[in-house]
């Protein structure tokens, strides 16, 4: 579904990703872990299409198409979704209005008819229950005055409604208490399926106790230094990142 080859990215002139190779197949859940500053969020953002991130080399193909050449909105319409680490607030625009606009923009791109208000309400009610969101939630401004946990739930809720093919979860577990974490994980798990892939970016093992990944990759200093299965994540939880950083091939010191 997604083929990333030798992806290199600069942010504000600084090289952050130094050649990422990653192949994600349909139905797979991949976790990318790593210490702070290793480039995890950069990877998530660049796949979603953040402009400030300059791709200096490599490719990313999504279902055979050049993902990096697409505008962010077209990536979304093709089926890419990112749950943000820090979702923005848009005062005065209700969650319902926003989500309906998003859904219809995507449907229109795919040549489907716009969904009407009744069908839309039916659709969102089911998904809202899944995440324990009550009715008033839809009428509130988008993330306006939401707690950290509510914002994260809203991200996964949007994901459930928009039904993307490829989901990027950027630090979705941060700021969640244990009950919220379970709800969010449950929401994510119900979306797992043979036609959908996920990339879970996280610093901690926590979320991966509930969303068991098929593959785990460790990102250090802009490179994937180790890949494995869910056991790798548990090892990291036990021993920290230190041993991997030690093991990782050091860049050659520049000659004077």
């Amino acid at each position: 579904m997604l083929e990333i080859k030798n992806l290199q990215v600069k942010v504000a002139g600084k090289e952050i990703l130094k050649g990422i190779d990653l192949s994600i197949g349909s139905g797979e859940v991949h976790a990318v872990m790593g210490p702070n500053g290793s480039g995890k969020t950069t990877l998530a953002q660049v796949l979603a299409g953040r402009l400030a991130y300059e791709v200096t080399g490599g490719t990313a193909r999504f279902q055979g198409k050049d993902l990096l050449a697409m505008k962010p909105e077209d990536r979304a319409r093709e089926g890419v979704f990112m749950a943000f680490q820090y979702p923005v607030e848009i005062p005065g625009v209700s969650n319902a209005y926003f989500l309906k606009a998003a859904l219809n923009a995507i449907r229109k791109y795919r040549g489907l008819e716009e969904i009407d208000a009744m069908d839309f309400m039916g659709l969102v009610q089911d998904k809202a229950k899944l995440l324990g969101l009550d009715e008033t939630f839809m009428k509130r401004g988008l993330n306006e005055g939401f707690s950290g946990g509510e914002k994260k739930k809203n991200e996964v809720f949007q994901m459930a409604v928009l039904e993307p093919k490829f989901c990027i979860l950027d630090e979705t577990d941060s700021g969640l208490d244990i009950d919220a974490l379970r709800l969010v994980a449950n929401g994510v798990n119900t979306m797992r399926g043979p036609n959908r892939a996920m990339l879970v970016v996280t610093h901690y093992q926590r979320l991966l106790d509930y969303v068991i990944p098929d593959f785990v990759h460790v990102l250090v200093d802009g490179r994937i230094v180790k890949s494995g299965d869910a056991d790798l994540a548990r090892n990291l939880e036990k021993h920290g990142y230190g041993w991997i950083v030690e093991e990782a091939p050091k860049p050659q010191p520049a000659r004077a």
Binding site: A76, P91, V93, Q158
Partner: protein, 483 residues
């Protein structure tokens, strides 16, 4: 600019030189202003002596006044002798069908969703549709008359309801109130008059919409609305289509009077020609609007959506004289390209337990400059007066500007005041977030702006709210320019 005294001298000379007004060609009087022009305007409207005198007193006072310079707008000096103060209804350009209308205007109509028949009327196409809408107007008028409601042009009111006009004209905005109000008082061309008798609730929104085609209201409009005890009226002003006008100065005066337990709701959508993208042309909209809550428990509510004009100078205000009276001001002002808006309100609390609410939303884009200017005055004796003010500014891009000048004067220790202000910018983060949900930056901007204005749009009558939303997005040129 010529100093006032020199100007006065010149005008005095002119008066002498051209003192034989009767010789003027009645439909095309020369540029410039003097007492004879004022008399001529009055005579053309067949006004009674008292009206002519009132205009002249206003004119004489205007001569002693200076154009205000305190506002936060910049424009080259206006030559008041270079303006035609009376013109017979402008000959309509011969337009046979919509095909002949400027394609730019037509596409704007289409974007606004104005029905075809309405488009034809606005473009001045001489077809039967025009007659249709006139007959519709007459139907409304008959229905209103049954309830004792008077709704007519200001000129008609002067002739047919002189007692009401004499009693209330200038009682809220005296002719010597300010420079532009004085000018208007001297030369006003026409406007609207509405009177709702005691205890009557006007069953429909009164609007210039179905009257304006009968009379081509000029640049100096004058509106007077009176709600007798227990009456209610909602008045809509304006037209959602662009009015292309060669005249530069638009100086209107609106006076509202609410007696005991009466309520007036006044909504405006102002979309005069804003000038082009380089800031050339456009209307100077220098307007004085004020309402007086004269009676106890009365209420006046202003709602405005200001998207047009190259310069807006406008402060719809409330004098809260009656005990327990309520004043409200809800405003959305947009300044795009080189537009400048200096707008806000005054709430003067005189009566006991008076309350006022101010919600102002300013949007700046392009090189626009948007200023909120508000004064809240709690007079001594206005016990338990309360005010809540909120003024928010939204910036789009990095070349525009927003200013806020709140002025709060409290002389009453029991008063309760609240003031909130915020400035925000449509951030790249917000746009990116929307994009990752499949929404284009243009649609996202539109959505964010409408969300920002929501509190005010909710105060507009339903159909107006929908039009206001569309108008904002059209005024921001959101099609293919953002992102």
């Amino acid at each position: 600019m010529v100093s006032k005294s020199v100007l006065q001298e010149q005008m005095a000379k002119q008066e002498y030189k051209y003192g034989f007004v009767a010789d003027f060609d009645e439909d095309t009087i020369p540029k410039g202003l003097n007492e004879d022009v004022v008399r001529l305007i009055s005579r053309k409207k067949k006004e009674p002596e008292w009206m002519t005198e009132w205009r002249l007193r206003a004119y004489r006072h205007w001569l002693t006044m200076k154009e205000p310079t305190w506002s936060n707008v910049r424009y080259p000096p206006i030559n008041y002798q270079d303006i035609i103060y009376y013109a017979a209804p402008k000959p309509k350009k011969e337009v046979k069908s919509l095909e002949d209308v400027d394609p730019e205007i037509r596409s704007l109509y289409a974007k606004l969703g104005i029905p075809l028949q309405e488009q034809e009327r606005l473009a001045g196409v001489a077809v039967d549709a025009v007659l249709d809408s006139v007959s519709v107007a007459t139907t409304f008028k008959d229905k209103l008359a049954e309830l004792g409601i008077i709704f007519c042009s200001f000129s008609e009111a002067v002739l047919e309801h002189p007692d009401l006009v004499r009693k209330y004209l200038g009682s809220v905005v005296p002719f010597n109130d300010n420079f532009f109000a004085a000018l208007n008082s001297a030369v006003f061309s026409d406007g609207s008059f509405a009177y709702v008798p005691p205890g009557v609730r006007c069953p429909m929104e009164l609007s210039t919409y179905f009257r304006i085609n009968a009379q081509d209201t000029g640049q100096f409009e004058r509106t007077l609305i009176i709600a007798d005890p227990g009456a209610y009226v909602s008045y809509l002003e304006g037209c959602t289509a662009p009015i292309r006008d060669t005249n530069q100065l638009h100086a209107a005066v609106v006076e509202l009077i609410a007696l005991d337990d009466a309520e007036i709701k006044y909504s405006t959508i102002q979309n005069w020609y804003p000038g082009d993208k380089q800031g050339k042309g456009g209307i100077y909209n220098f307007v004085t609007k004020r309402g007086k809550c004269l009676g106890v428990n009365s209420k006046i509510s202003w709602t405005q959506v200001e998207t047009g004009s190259s310069i807006t100078w406008k402060y719809p205000s409330c004098i809260l004289q009656g005990d327990n009276s309520v004043g409200e001001f809800y405003s959305v002002a947009l300044a795009n390209n080189y537009q400048q808006a200096d707008t806000g309100t005054k709430m003067l609390h005189i009566g006991k337990n008076t309350r006022s609410t101010i919600i102002s939303k300013g949007i700046s884009s392009g090189y626009g400059r948007n200023t909120y200017r508000g004064r809240v005055q709690i007079h001594k004796g206005a016990t338990n007066a309360r005010n809540y003010s909120q003024c928010d500014s939204l910036l789009i891009g990095s070349t525009c500007a927003a200013f806020t000048f709140p002025d709060i004067q409290v002389q009453e220790p029991t008063a309760q005041m609240e003031h909130e202000a915020s400035t925000s910018k449509i951030g790249e983060d917000q746009l990116f977030y929307c994009q990752t949900r499949g929404i284009t930056p243009e649609d996202a901007t539109n959505m964010i702006v409408n969300g920002f204005c929501k509190q005010v749009f909710l105060k507009l009558p339903m159909e107006f709210a929908v039009e206001a939303q569309k108008l904002i997005s059209v005024s921001l040129n959101l099609e293919g320019t953002v992102g």
